[in-house]
């Protein structure tokens, strides 16, 4: 009975940080988003800022831009990541240097990923140089500007580059632990490799595919660096827009920044809920 409180005591240090900084930060942002900002004399609670932000065209296009970038980059990264993991599993070589090398982008920060995208896709980058040398384009300006544009190609490619190894690592860990006998039995009973993949392997890896999708989606939706470095001036991604409002010299603008932050948070909370669901799926499969 004396052990009843033991787990709680063990959790105290971590929870101090989580509640004291993380949750506290979100609550502070929420209070300020309601227009309560004592330092400059705003003490009236109001939904006025929400109304204004949610109906402004600039905000809506930013929201659309962020959702677009996060969706496209995460879907492509997940598909290619699963293909990479499955290819490593099926390839002739095992446990070679390849298995370590593909993980490198996981440890490369997003600022460097921005530089890589810039090196390759800018109008003076490697891709237009190669296209020029084989005669497909005749001038630098014929290469479409993929950076700082409304399609966000540069941002998307940088996120995909970071995402593929992450997904592949997570999925490969599961794939290599699935009992090989299951596939063997199915093959013996006349299934082809495609059927083995879709009916045996895919159900096993589905929950982790889903949870890694949520993680990279949430990251690309809520991160500041890449859209700031590679994105267009308009529309700005939501985190960039929030920061611009935040640094506005007029402090009365703060609530607008906090409303954007709250919308970022609400979307993230939905993702947390979905993430949690994916783990319920995992335990269902393991039963």
């Amino acid at each position: 009975m004396k052990n009843k409180y033991k787990p709680y005591v063990m959790l105290i240090p971590v929870m101090i940080v989580i509640l004291g900084i993380f949750i506290n930060g979100l609550i502070m942002a929420f209070i300020q988003s309601l227009g309560y900002f004592k330092a400059i004399g705003l003490t009236e609670i109001t939904f006025k800022y929400y109304k204004e932000v949610l109906t402004s065209q600039g905000f809506l296009s930013s929201l659309g831009f962020s959702v677009y970038i996060a969706t496209i980059s995460s879907v492509i990264a997940v598909v290619l990541g699963v293909i990479l993991a499955y290819s490593i599993l099926r390839s002739t070589h095992r446990k070679g240097i390849e298995e370590a090398v593909y993980k490198i982008p996981i440890f490369v920060p997003h600022i460097v990923a921005a530089l890589l995208a810039y090196n390759i896709l800018a109008q003076s980058g490697v891709v237009p140089r190669v296209l020029y040398s084989i005669g497909i384009i005749k001038d630098q300006s014929q290469f479409p500007s993929l950076l700082y544009d409304k399609n966000g190609i540069g941002i998307i490619i940088a996120y995909i580059w970071k995402g593929i190894p992450f997904v592949a690592m997570v999925v490969y860990t599961i794939l290599s632990n699935i009992n090989n006998k299951l596939s063997q039995v199915a093959l013996n009973l006349g299934a082809n490799n495609r059927q083995v993949f879709f009916y045996i392997l895919l159900p096993f890896i589905m929950p982790s595919i889903f949870s890694s999708f949520i993680i990279i989606f949430a990251f690309s939706f809520g991160a500041y660096e890449l859209p700031f470095l590679l994105g267009p001036t308009s529309p700005k991604a939501l985190p960039v827009k929030a920061y611009v409002e935040y640094t506005n010299s007029n402090l009365a603008n703060r609530p607008y920044a906090m409303v954007i932050n709250m919308i970022l948070t609400i979307v993230s909370l939905i993702l947390v809920w979905l993430y949690n669901k994916s783990f319920e799926l995992i335990s269902k499969y393991n039963r």
């Binding site: 063990m10 971590v14 490198i104 090196n119 490697v126 690592m169 985190p239």
Partner: protein, 270 residues
């Protein structure tokens, strides 16, 4: 048929890995390119100007790099110390509110750090924590905790508690048990968690920049302007140093742990 297929998958694997590694090779070339005008595929002249600038004492790059490593090491150590008991509690015990605690711990991985940082900024200013080293360390803990708990929890789920129980039954004190039984058992997990936490902290830009207010200068912060202005040579030099430092720190962490416990590091992540 089987051989042919596995060759095909090898090919796909090599193509994807090649595309992942190619950009890294390009920055190595850029870091030593003296002149690389359009439309040459290779630089016209090779030079070490970027590297010379980096190693010149007046650029202070090395001091900032060491300072940055020091900060992230402190973050890593604190994160590991506070997450070991938390991960153990979540892995081995059932208690009321466990689900909520798990969700709260995993949430910083998903909720935008931009929102959290701006929200907590005013609070940190009031407490005198903004623009300080301690403030930056504290705010770095938030994105690091979920990774560490996730990995260590997995380790505790696999290893269980029976070895520690035996040690206690045989008369070892709590401290002895922790030092001679628990730590060696979880050491591979500690290496994985430590490496990942170090990387997460070492790569932070926005949190450091907002809470540190420009007073706490870390490596990503000196690198940022070079990337922003499109100075490819300098940005490439800094990027290579960055990646190399991360890999070196991970390698050292693994070596030290191996020396003490003779085990290997793995990623326990899913």
């Amino acid at each position: 048929m089987k051989v042919k297929q596995s060759k095909l998958f090898s090919l796909i694997m090599y193509i994807i890995i090649f595309l992942l590694v190619l950009p890294l090779i390009i920055i190595i070339i850029w870091s030593v390119a003296k002149s690389w005008p359009w439309p040459s595929i290779f630089p016209n002249a090779i030079g070490l100007r970027g590297w010379k600038y980096f190693f010149k004492p007046t650029s202070k790059s090395i001091i900032i790099l060491l300072h940055s490593v020091y900060l992230s090491m402190i973050v890593t150590i604190i994160t590991l110390i506070i997450t070991i008991p938390a991960a153990k509690a979540l892995a081995l015990y059932n208690f009321k509110g466990k689900k909520i605690v798990e969700l709260l711990i995993i949430a910083p991985l998903i909720v935008s750090p931009v929102a959290v940082a701006m929200g907590i900024h005013l609070f940190f200013i009031k407490l005198g924590l903004s623009n300080t080293f301690i403030g930056v360390v504290l705010v770095h803990l938030v994105p690091c905790i979920p990774y560490s708990v996730k990995i260590l929890k997995n380790v505790f789920e696999i290893t269980g508690e029976s070895m520690e129980m035996q040690s206690r039954v045989l008369g070892a004190s709590k401290l002895q048990t922790f030092k001679h039984v628990t730590l060696p058992i979880i050491s591979p997990g500690l290496v994985s968690a430590g490496s990942l936490v170090f990387t997460v902290s070492f790569s932070q830009y926005f949190l450091t920049f907002l809470i540190g207010g420009g007073r706490v200068v870390t490596f990503p912060m000196v690198m940022f302007p070079f990337v922003q202005s499109g100075d490819r040579m300098m940005a490439s030099v800094y990027s290579i140093v960055f990646i190399f430092t991360t890999l070196a720190c991970m390698y050292i962490m693994e070596k030290i742990t191996k020396k003490y416990y003779k085990t290997e590091g793995y990623f326990y992540i899913n």
